[in-house]
Amino acid sequence: MSTPLDRIRNFSIIAHIDHGKSTLADRLIQTTGGLTEREMSAQVLDNMDIEKERGITIKAQTVRLNYTAKDGLEYQLSLMDTPGHVDFAYEVSRSLAACEGALLVVDAAQGVEAQTLANVYQSIEHDHEIVPVINKIDLPAAEVDKVKAEIEDIIGIPADDAILTSAKSGIGIAEVLEAIVTRIPPPKGDRDAPLKAMLVDSWYDPYLGVVILVRVVEGVLKKGQQIKFMQHGTLHLVDRVACMRPKLEQLTELAAGEIGIITAQIKEVSQTAVGDTITDAKKPTAEALPGFKEVQPVVFCGLFPVDAADFEKLRDSLYKLRLNDASFSFEAESSAALGFGFRCGFLGLLHLEIIQERLTREYDLDLITTAPSVVYKIQLAHDKGEIELHNPADMPDVMQIASIEEPWIEAVIYVPDEYLGSLLKLCQDRRGIQKNLTYVGGRAQITYELPLNEVVFDFYDRLKSISRGYASFDYHQIGYREGDLVKMSIMVNAEPVDALSMIVHRGTAEARGRGMCERLKDLIPRHLFKIPVQAAIGGKVIARETIAAMRKDVTAKCYGGDATRKKKLLEKQKEGKKRMREYGSVQIPQEAFIAALRMGDEG
């Protein structure tokens, strides 16, 4: 009933952002008949609205395809499309753990980029067979030979048998399918052994409840089976075994080597730990699988409803979102100025932006986002121990602090030669320590150690704008280091604005403060009176700007009939004010909170 092992191939599609993974997946699904022409849409696996709109993959997706190869035999292929953005690297690592091989897609015009490398190294660590696919060969700027050379020189894998494709126009798809069968090894696994399956992912589906993606490693997983999650020893009854094609198809079992989904009347995603081992409750396996490295949120910010009455709604919405995205965290917090809200943790700035956008759009919430911050470790004075600081507003008095440590990362950046100078300056300005600089072709690969707090705000934006989009970037955390860090407060009309306070390095504080004040001056609309904007460290003002008072705002003509029109204008004015936050008597537009943090050109 199950497909024999040698007729199964499990593979991930990995690449740098936008190199065409999801489009290639489309072609593979289409060619093998998973969906009819009419059911097809571009990047069909990117099914969230936000994925479609932004044209990026956020969540990895798995599809089972049937393919009859040139040898005349039918194979069962499990394809896992993965996201390219660094914030979602954990999605890639899970998928890789469930496969035996990977299609490494490289854009023929862009060549090898930072995430190409990061993802391919992960794949190599899993001992995968890697099939290089050079995509977008239809582009006029495609340079196939140069890209082949990069794959060999930078990555260090042979590229002479790389497959040339245009996922967009369907070139090379047949070759890819053949390569999957001939080059990627079939899975191994004893089907008679007790059940041992990897819990690869889980999500909440409004119709099915909690759905679990599994890779069976040994034994067989059947409908009606009593299973045990080894981490907590919880028991569940399997009520559905299926696979995605990408439409759901019911099965009776999944045997060793196969990837599929199950449901087991589980109410909440939090009851399923990703990386856990699933076994038979009555006949358990002796040893659990090694599991995954746990993902930790690295960027934190506060989310507050613009309308205080929306607090409950925000909480419910966060719970709902978390059902499908266990990688972000939240806990209630309150602030004098912003009222009740939540401090939330994210995997990166894009992740933050996406959650924020989904809350706004899918849940119709107006939110204020405070300055993103990283987690600091504070050694308290007088041996009072260590605390973790998630929110700059909670920073203890300086007298109680012995030292502060901040997280550092190692960043690998690829950049064309001509932008190298500006890029080095950017890293230097952000307190970076250069570790390595090598040239490959016309490009430099630089390795820097950087404090994460210099990266969370807008490093990525700056990197892209400095290099006109050509630089790419990947990073991982390398631990905590002590730093000369201080809390900088921002005062608007002499009122401290909690949401804008941040921890900064003393050496860069003044420049940061000046930048913030200048930007706030442009972001806060003129009021009826002039408004001082100040940055201060411990009561000492380090930068100051003044927003001039409104000069003229009066309707020249207003007679009987105009009362109605004028009233409408006034109502609109009031509506607009709802999108502002009030500090004393000053209204700050919501957008200003994040916008103020972007460092502009001097960065």
Binding site: T555, G560, G561, K567, L570, Q573
Partner: protein, 396 residues
Amino acid sequence: MRASDLDLCRDPSPQSGEEEPLALYVHWPFCVSKCPYCDFNSHVRAEIDETAWRDALLADLAHEAELTPGRPLGSIFFGGGTPSLMAPATVAAVLGAAERHWGFASDIEITLEANPSSVEAAKFGALAKAGINRVSLGLQALDDAALRFLGRAHDVAESLAALDIAQAAFARVSLDLIYARPDQTETSWRAELDRALRFGTEHLSLYQLTIEPGTHFAALAGKGRLPTLDIDTAANLFELTRAVTAAAGIPAYEISNHARPGAESRHNLAYWRYRDYLGVGPGAHGRRGGLATVRRKKPENWLAAVARNGHGLESETPLDPATRAMEALLMGLRLGEGVDLAALSGRLGLPIDEMVDARAIDELTGHGLIVRERDRLTVREPGMLVLDGILGEIVR
């Protein structure tokens, strides 16, 4: 000074609504040509059947009269469009009917807006005879190039001749000027204003040029083809205007209106003091006993509506006290005299703190923009220039 002049300055709050005189607005929607800055309900038509129009206006008038018995008229205003294009006989017919319906207060003010062209000036005598006792003359500028820019059909010489005739024909004359034009400087506006003051009219309406949506100027501005005056110069011109007119004894009593004490426009004060006013003719608005009345806007539609229904009403909407308070404040604070909050609160049956934001009032008082003396809330001189901003803060 007549007794009624004092009343004008004191914002009388009549004890009973019945005794309060009414204001009547009559709209004449036709113009010879459309000015590029104009967003009024004005239309250019080759043929106008004036008999039909007269009859329709009389019918619309009769409808309003039926709903407001027992209240004399304190003022009538013919606006437009260009009501000076009306035949004096039509004006006389409307006034005759109005007097029969309501009766006139002894000191009734009857204003007509007029363009200062020679054709219209020739009718001023007949219009005065028909009962008009005040004209508002649309001079708009005292500079031929500016008049061309504003798309006006008359030049300065013709306007001044019309002004002479008007001053001889009517007891009260007001003139309109549009300033803060694209190339205007403080010096040139000062000279123009001084000249206007020397004409000796009792009333001046001085409007800053604004680009209204839907006008020809707006279309030009949208394409970046209309130069505009920078906001600082416009602000300076506003301040200059108020200082110069005050020194000349014809101070501002409203944002853009200036009068010798006692010579304020009684009709327009009815709007700004948020009294009841009736509006007849195409697109005319009214406030009748807590109802907002709106008439069909397009001339032909209004005419058809009158023929069908006996009146030109498009809608009658009851306004809740909060809306009325908002309207009363946004009209009333335009006046130098401000708004008596206690009186308004009594009139509308709405507590003061549901009309205005006390905290905002304190705040803006601290910045010297407004002042509250007992129950009267007044915008101070520096606040006038940012009145809309102030309204946004204090009106609930």
